[in-house]
C-alpha cells in the first residue's frame, strides 16, 4: 500500500508558542507551511504557564540587567550571544504579542504591568493575571489561524527523513485512524516541548513525553546538556502539579513536621526566596531526615494563612483552587502540602543562534531547525529563571521562523520516497503485534519512579550508575511488551507505547550525562561533588547514541560574553 506524500516549503512539528509563532512568520512570507501536532494546538503545554514573561520594559530596568540575571541564574553555562539576542528582543516581542491581542494585566496608565520574580533584579515579568501562558497561546494560535496556517492536529510525528546531513521532511500518522503520510519539505522545524514526564513527580502535562528529542537522537544526532532538569520547589504533594513561585513571593512560609521554619538553616538571608534549586534541595533534605508531613510523610507545609483571605483571593485564586481540587485543603484556613517536582528541561536538541540543528560541534544539519523547550540554544544554561521560558519559546519560535524564511530560497527539495516511512511502519507493526508480557503502564511507572529516586534533586555516582542499569534493563523489557488495543481508531494504547520508547531513550541521555558531570552546577546537584568546577566542566555536554543504543559523550565550549563567571550567592 502506498503512502501519500504531501509537499510543503516548511513543516513544523508542535503547535505551542514556539511552533505557532514560527508558522505565522512562514505564512506571512508567503511560504507553504503545515503544522503537525499530536494535540489540538490549544492543548499544548504553553497554555499552562502561570507566572509571566520577562522583558526589561520599565525605566528602572535595563536589557543588560536582564542579561546579567539570566547568565548568573544559568550558573554561567548559558551561551551569552543567545542570551543577548533574547534580552534585546524581549521588549519588542512582548509588545508584538500585545498588538496581536494578548490580554496582559495593565498599570493605571494603560501600560503592560510587571511583577517581581525569583532571581530578577527588577520587576520584569509581564503577566495576564495567573494565566499568562493561556493568553499568549490563544493569541499566537488565533493570529496564525487568521493568516491561514494549515494546522494538522491529532497527528503523531514519528520520524524525520534524514540522509547525508540533510533533513527533508517528516513521517507521521493520524491518531484518529492510523492513516500514514509523508510530509516532504525543504525545511523542517521541531517545537515539541518539554520532557519532564520521565519523572514520577512532575508538573508537566501527560503529553510532554519528549518525542522530538529521541526521534532526533535515533539518527545519531546529539542532545545537549540533558543532565540539567529543573526541579521546582513547590509541586502539590502526590501529583506534583505546580504551585507557582508567586506563593513564596507573596510570603508563604515553609514548615516541617516539627513546626520549624527550616529555611532558616539553609538560606538564612533569602529564606523561602532563595533560588529554586536551593529551596528544592532543602525540602527534599527535610523529608529524607524524617521531618516530612502528610499521609506519606513525603511533603512539607507551605503556610499562607497569615496572608488572610482577601490577599489570597486577589493574588492567588487559581492556586487556591488547585490545592482544594487536588488536596482538599483550603490555603486560607490551613497549610498545604508541597514537595519538589520535575518542571523544566534546560537541555535538548542543540541549535545555533538562528535555530539550525547541530550535527556536531562544528557542523549543522541542512534544512533542520528547533525552538522552544525541546531545543537547547542555551539561554538557560544550568538553571533557567522563572518567566524566561515562555519568552524563549515565543521569541525564538518567531526568530527561527524568520531564519527558515531566509534559508528556504537556498534550500532544494529532495524528493521523499515510500521507503522513508519504513522505520515508522516497522515501529507501529512491532508494537501492535508484540505479544510479550510487559505492559506499558508497568514499565513507565518503574521508569518514572526510579528517575525521581535516582536522578532527582540529589544525585550521586551510586544512584546514577544504578539508574543507568535500570534504564537499560527497562529498554530490554520494552521489547517484550503487549498492548491491549489492536484497533485503528484512536489507539492511544499504541501511542503511549511509542511515547514510552522515547522516554526510555532520552532518559538514558539524562542519567549518562549526569553521571559524567562530576560537579554541582545549577539544577544538577551531585552530593559527591558539591561545588562548581569551572576548570573541568564549564562546557556543554554533547551526547550521541549509536545504533546499539549506547551513549557516548563529547563536550562543546560555552560561548562567552561580557559576564565573567562569579560565585553564585542569593
Amino acid at each position: 500500500m502506498s503512502i501519500p506524500i504531501y509537499t510543503y516549503d516548511a513543516v513544523i512539528v508542535g503547535s505551542g508558542l514556539a511552533g505557532s509563532a514560527a508558522a505565522r512568520e512562514l505564512k506571512l512570507a508567503g511560504k507553504n507551511v503545515a503544522v503537525i501536532t499530536k494535540l489540538h494546538p490549544l492543548r499544548s503545554h504553553s497554555g499552562a504557564a502561570q507566572g509571566g514573561i520577562n522583558a526589561a520594559l520599565s525605566d528602572v530596568d535595563s536589557i543588560e540587567l536582564h542579561e546579567f540575571d539570566t547568565v548568573k541564574g544559568a550558573d554561567y553555562l548559558a551561551d551569552q550571544d543567545a542570551v543577548e539576542l533574547m534580552c534585546q528582543k524581549a521588549p519588542e516581542t512582548i509588545r508584538w504579542a500585545e498588538r496581536m491581542g494578548a490580554a496582559f494585566s495593565r498599570t493605571d496608565d494603560g501600560k503592560i504591568a510587571q511583577r517581581p520574580f525569583g532571581g530578577q533584579s527588577s520587576p520584569r515579568a509581564c503577566f495576564a493575571k495567573d494565566r499568562t501562558g493561556l493568553t499568549l497561546l490563544q493569541t499566537i494560535y488565533e493570529q496564525a489561524l487568521r493568516v491561514g496556517v494549515d494546522f494538522i492536529d491529532e497527528w503523531y510525528a514519528a520520524d524525520i527523513i534524514y540522509e547525508d546531513g540533510k533533513v527533508s521532511g517528516i513521517v507521521a500518522f493520524n491518531i484518529r485512524n492510523q492513516e500514514k503520510a509523508i510530509f516532504n519539505a525543504k525545511a523542517v522545524m521541531f517545537a515539541t516541548g518539554g520532557y519532564a514526564r520521565a519523572f514520577k513527580i512532575s508538573s508537566n502535562a501527560h503529553a510532554n513525553t519528549g518525542d522530538g528529542l529521541s526521534i532526533v537522537a535515533r539518527h545519531g544526532l546529539p542532545l545537549e546538556d540533558m543532565e540539567f532538569v529543573q526541579f521546582h520547589p513547590s509541586g502539590l504533594s502526590g501529583s506534583g502539579i505546580l504551585i507557582s513561585e508567586a506563593a513564596r513571593g507573596e510570603g508563604g512560609k515553609l514548615l516541617n513536621s516539627e513546626g520549624e521554619r527550616f529555611m532558616e538553616r539553609y538560606a538564612p538571608n533569602k529564606l523561602e526566596l532563595a533560588s529554586r534549586d536551593v529551596v528544592a534541595r532543602a525540602i527534599i533534605n527535610e523529608i529524607r531526615e524524617g521531618r516530612g508531613v502528610g499521609p506519606r510523610k513525603d511533603a512539607v507545609y507551605i503556610d499562607l494563612t497569615h496572608l488572610g483571605k482577601e490577599k489570597i483571593m486577589e493574588r492567588l485564586p487559581e492556586l487556591r483552587d488547585l490545592a482544594i481540587t487536588f488536596l482538599g485543603l483550603d490555603m486560607i484556613k490551613e497549610p498545604i502540602l508541597i514537595s519538589a517536582t520535575a518542571h523544566y528541561s534546560m537541555g535538548g536538541i542543540p541549535v545555533d543562534i538562528d535555530g539550525h540543528v547541530r550535527k556536531n560541534n562544528d557542523e549543522l544539519v541542512e534544512g533542520f531547525y528547533a525552538a522552544g523547550e525541546c531545543a537547547c540554544v542555551s539561554v538557560h544554561g544550568a538553571n533557567r529563571l522563572g518567566a524566561n521560558s515562555v519568552l524563549e519559546a515565543l521569541l525564538f519560535g518567531r526568530h527561527v521562523g524568520q531564519s527558515m524564511v531566509a534559508d528556504i530560497e537556498k534550500l532544494y527539495l529532495r524528493e521523499a520516497e515510500q521507503s522513508d516511512a519504513d522505520t515508522m511502519i516497522e515501529e507501529m507493526e512491532r508494537i501492535l503485534t508484540s505479544n510479550g508480557k510487559e505492559t506499558v503502564p508497568g514499565l513507565r511507572n518503574e521508569l518514572q519512579q526510579s528517575m525521581t529516586d535516582n536522578a532527582g534533586v540529589f544525585r550521586t555516582e551510586e544512584t546514577l550508575s544504578k539508574q543507568v542499569e535500570i534504564v537499560k534493563e527497562l529498554r530490554k523489557r520494552f521489547a517484550n511488551i503487549r498492548i491491549d488495543d489492536k484497533s485503528k481508531i484512536f489507539n492511544t494504547d499504541l501511542q503511549e507505547a511509542i511515547e514510552l520508547g522515547h522516554m526510555l531513550d532520552y532518559s538514558l541521555f539524562i542519567v549518562e550525562s549526569a553521571l559524567a558531570r562530576k560537579e554541582s552546577r545549577g539544577a544538577h546537584y551531585r552530593e559527591d561533588f558539591t561545588t562548581r568546577d569551572d576548570e573541568g566542566f564549564m562546557k556543554h555536554t554533547m551526547a550521541y547514541m549509536d545504533a546499539e543504543g549506547n551513549i557516548s559523550l563529547d563536550y562543546m565550549a560555552v560561548t562567552p560574553g561580557k559576564f565573567e563567571p562569579q560565585e553564585r550567592t542569593y
Binding site: 494535540l39 489540538h40 490549544l42 492543548r43 499544548s44 503545554h45 497554555g47 499552562a48 519588542e92 512582548i94 509588545r95 508584538w96 500585545e98 498588538r99 496581536m100 491581542g101 490580554a103 496582559f104 494585566s105 495593565r106 498599570t107 493605571d108 496608565d109 494603560g110 501600560k111 503592560i112 494565566r131 493561556l134 493569541t139 488565533e142 493570529q143 489561524l145 487568521r146 484518529r176 502535562a205 501527560h206 502526590g238 501529583s239 502539579i241 505546580l242 499521609p295 483552587d321 488547585l322 481540587t325 487536588f326 488536596l327 482538599g328 502540602l337 505492559t439 506499558v440 503502564p441 491491549d484 488495543d485 484497533s487 485503528k488 481508531i489 484512536f490 489507539n491 492511544t492 494504547d493
Partner: protein
C-alpha cells in the same frame, strides 16, 4: 488532609469503537476510590489497570488545557478538575461515565469535535487590526478597559457548554455559547476593529444569539466561570447599540422581552419565544426543548416567577432596544 479515605464505587463506563462496534455498550467496573482522586485518575486507572484499549483525551491534567471534558451521570465535568468525593456526595456510589455527546462518539470518551472548532472559527476569533510587527510601544489599555473582557478570554475551549446547550442540540446551525463568548471577547476589546462583522454573524437568524433559549445551562456547566449567557446578553445589547438590528424575529424578541419584564420583572422564556415566533412555530421548533427544560425545572410557570437578580442586564437591554425604530 491528614488521612486518606477510600470507598468502593461502581462505574458504568460507556464503551464504543466506531471501527468495530455497531452499538455502544456499558461496562461495569468496581474500584476502590481514594479521597485524593479526581475523575481523570479514574480514567487513567481504567486504561492502565483494567483495559488498555479504553480511550479518552487529556493533556495538562490541571484544568487549563480543556482536553478532558466528559459527562458523569449526565453532568458535564472537566475530568482533571472534578473531585471524586464531590461526585460521590452528589450522586452516590454508582457513577456513569460518558462522552460529552453520545451521537458524536468516536471511541469511548472521545468525540468528534469538528463542529465545535468550525463554529469557533466562524465568529472570527482573533483580534482584527493591522498588526505592527515591530512595535516600539504597546497599545494603551486601561485596567478598566481590560476588565471589559469579563474573563471571556479565560475560556479553555473545553466544549462543556457547547455540548450541554439545548438550542444547539436542536439546531445544528446555532453557533453556541463558547463561540459567542469568543465573539464577545473580541468585540469587547478596545483594540479590535471588526465589531460590526462579528455582529453580522451573531445577529443572523437561526445561527445567532437570538436562538438562545436562556436556560443558563452554559453558565452552570462552565468550569472556568466564563458565563457565556452573560456574554450572549451583552451581544444582544451590542446589536442594538450599533444599530444593526433588523426587523425580524430578533427584534420582535426584544419587544417580547420588554413585555415580559413589564409583567414579571423577569424574563418569561415561554412567553418570549411565543412573542418572537408565534405560538404554533414555537411549539414545533422549541416544544421538545421547552418540555425538557420544564422537566428539569428550567421553565417557570408565570405564577411562580421569581424576581430577577439579572434585572440590571435586562434593563440595559430594554433601554438599548428601545432606541431603534422600525
Amino acid at each position: 488532609m491528614t488521612t486518606i479515605t477510600t470507598q468502593t464505587i461502581t462505574f458504568n463506563v460507556f464503551r464504543f469503537n466506531s471501527e468495530t462496534d455497531y452499538l455502544p455498550y456499558y461496562k461495569t467496573i468496581e474500584m476502590e476510590v481514594t479521597s485524593e482522586e479526581v475523575v481523570l485518575d479514574i480514567l487513567n486507572r481504567i486504561k492502565w489497570d483494567v483495559d488498555g484499549s479504553f480511550s479518552y483525551r487529556r493533556s495538562c491534567r490541571h484544568g487549563i488545557c480543556g482536553a478532558c471534558a466528559i459527562k458523569v451521570n449526565g453532568k458535564g465535568v472537566l475530568a482533571c478538575k472534578e473531585r471524586m468525593n464531590d461526585l460521590i456526595e452528589l450522586f452516590g456510589t454508582e457513577l456513569t461515565l460518558e462522552p460529552l455527546s453520545i451521537k458524536r462518539a468516536v471511541k469511548d470518551m472521545i468525540i468528534d469535535k469538528e463542529d465545535f472548532w468550525k463554529k469557533h472559527e466562524q465568529v472570527k476569533p482573533y483580534l482584527i487590526d493591522e498588526i505592527d510587527e515591530h512595535p516600539e510601544s504597546e497599545n494603551l489599555v486601561t485596567p478598566k478597559e481590560e476588565a471589559q473582557l469579563l474573563e471571556a478570554d479565560y475560556c479553555i475551549q473545553c466544549g462543556l457548554c457547547h455540548y450541554s446547550c439545548p438550542s444547539l442540540e436542536n439546531n445544528d446551525s446555532y453557533i453556541g455559547p463558547a463561540a459567542f463568548a469568543a465573539a464577545y471577547r473580541f468585540n469587547a476589546d478596545v483594540r479590535d476593529k471588526a465589531t460590526l462583522d462579528r455582529l453580522d454573524i451573531v445577529n443572523a437568524p437561526d445561527q445567532g444569539v437570538w436562538d438562545c433559549v436562556k436556560c443558563y445551562e452554559c453558565q452552570e456547566v462552565c468550569p472556568k466561570e466564563v458565563n457565556p449567557i452573560e456574554k450572549i446578553t451583552k451581544l444582544h445589547n451590542q446589536v442594538f447599540e450599533h444599530g444593526v438590528a433588523i426587523n425580524n424575529v430578533a427584534t420582535r424578541h426584544a419587544v417580547g422581552f420588554a413585555h415580559s419584564i413589564k409583567k414579571h420583572g423577569l424574563l418569561d422564556e415561554a412567553e418570549l419565544v411565543r412573542y418572537s415566533e408565534g405560538t404554533l412555530p414555537m411549539l414545533m421548533k422549541h416544544g421538545k426543548v421547552g418540555f425538557k427544560m420544564f422537566k428539569v425545572g428550567k421553565v417557570v410557570m408565570p405564577w411562580n416567577m421569581p424576581k430577577s437578580d439579572k434585572l440590571d442586564e435586562v434593563k440595559a437591554l430594554i433601554k438599548s432596544s428601545s432606541t431603534v425604530k422600525f
